[in-house]
Amino acid sequence: MHPTNNSHTGILQRDLLVAIRQGSDFLNPLLFFVMTTTLVPLAVSPSPSQLAVIAPGMIWITALLATLLALDGIFKDDLADGSLLQIILSPKSLWSLVLAKVIAHWLKTGLPITLMAPLLGMMLSLPGEGYIPLVTGLAVGTACFSLIGAVGAALTVALQRGGVLLSLVVMPLYFPVLIFGASSVQRAVQGLEYLPVLAMLGAFFTFTLLTGPFAAAAALRVGING
């Protein structure tokens, strides 16, 4: 019998299974996230009052960098072993398969980072009011990073040294996410209303969810030609 005939869960399952077998797919971005955040008190000051001020921004910046770091492999590994061509040549719609890969990427990087963030918030003396917007904001924001990043990763998939280029291409598009995400935490800490800001982040997420997979699918067809 055929255990699965659903292409989307098929690709999602496959990517997660590969990640679990290799382990590093989950661990490396997470370790990077923790290590770069450790740099902050060393470079700025160990004083809790100073750290508390910059904690929301620093956590968001390091989360952005950690997802960016893991972005390069999202399609590149599949191109190297030939399975990307099979995905593109599937009669199923390419955007839905791309979406499955993006979801897998988020589960591998965005979700662990989101779950780790409260711990780092504690280490950077983030006041108690900041944790709920930090976690919800990061959950949605890292999903935006994966969705937008997939377009850049698709365009640079066949390039030998695409890693730095990918960051340059994608980072300007990350600005709105960073602005909304970091200020929602800051506003919560200052005792201001933060839900409208999270709502804007949610609106941006909806927009990228509706457009991103189509753009990434188009980019993939172009990018494989090198």
Binding site: L155, T156, L165, L168, L173, F175, P176, I179, A215, G226
Partner: protein, 251 residues
């Protein structure tokens, strides 16, 4: 009826889409465009720098707007020119549109850089500092990054055809995101607006200042068109060097 109009447009597009036709036609326009843009720029500069009245608050230092404002406007429009050319190239597969797109990228980046430079030179006497994280300056900086991304992507590919398509997709994605980026930066700025810096707000501009400014804006538009054509012609020669008509040019 509609179909015949569409057919006509398509036919015209394809004629215009031939690099050779573009090269020869723009060759005829270049001298006129050069004379017009130099004329307007010289006229506007003399008028703006020499004859327009002083600003009540900023004295003579405001006169940099005669360069700064047209450049900033074109830096923004340049991105849309690039993206529109990219869209035309993707949809109708017109060669020349690709060439216009990749020629518009460095031009736009240069204009954005100049806008930032003139802005910061203007900032010193006005705000007492070269750099302020003001909403407009920050947006301009992000625009500069967006241009650099397209340029870097264009250079990364060995295949020109792939580079064209990749840049077209990236500039379209950028275009869709620009309004969102601008709005979010605006919002971010109002959130953190420092009280110490007073911006010289949108005070109504005197008509005697406006007239030379309009002349300068028109002059810069012509200048932009001129440089874009020159850039595109260079790209055509670099790309079509194998064809017989390009070889014929050097004989």
């Amino acid at each position: 009826m509609w179909q015949s109009i569409l057919k006509f447009i398509q036919k015209w597009f394809h004629r215009f889409g031939s690099p050779r036709w573009f090269y020869q036609t723009t060759g005829k326009w270049l001298p006129y465009l050069a004379v017009i843009s130099v004329g307007l720029l010289v006229l506007g500069s003399i008028w703006g720098l020499g004859f327009a009245p002083q600003d009540a608050r900023q004295g003579n230092s405001y006169r940099i707007i005669f360069i700064h404002v047209p450049i900033s406007v074109l830096a923004m429009i340049g991105y849309y020119v690039m993206a529109a050319a990219g869209a035309v190239a993707l949809i109708w597969k017109i060669k020349i549109a690709n060439m216009v797109m990749v020629s518009a990228a460095p031009l736009g980046a240069a204009l954005t850089f100049l806008a930032l430079l003139t802005g910061s030179i203007w900032g010193k006497p006005t705000w007492g500092t070269y750099w302020v994280w003001d909403a407009r300056i920050t947006s301009m900086l992000i625009l500069f990054f967006l241009y650099l991304g397209v340029i870097a992507l264009n250079q990364a590919f060995t295949s020109r055809d792939t580079a064209y398509k990749a840049c077209a997709i990236l500039s379209l994605v950028g275009t869709v995101n620009i309004p969102i980026i601008y709005k979010s930066v605006d919002w971010w700025y109002t959130l953190h607006q420092p009280a110490t810096i007073k911006l010289t707000g949108a005070s109504s501009i005197h008509p005697d200042m406006l007239k030379p400014l309009i002349v300068m804006i028109l002059g810069f538009y012509c200048f932009y068109a001129l440089v874009l054509m020159l850039n595109t012609r260079t790209e055509i020669l670099a790309r079509e060097w194998r064809s017989s008509w390009v070889r014929g040019l050097s004989q």
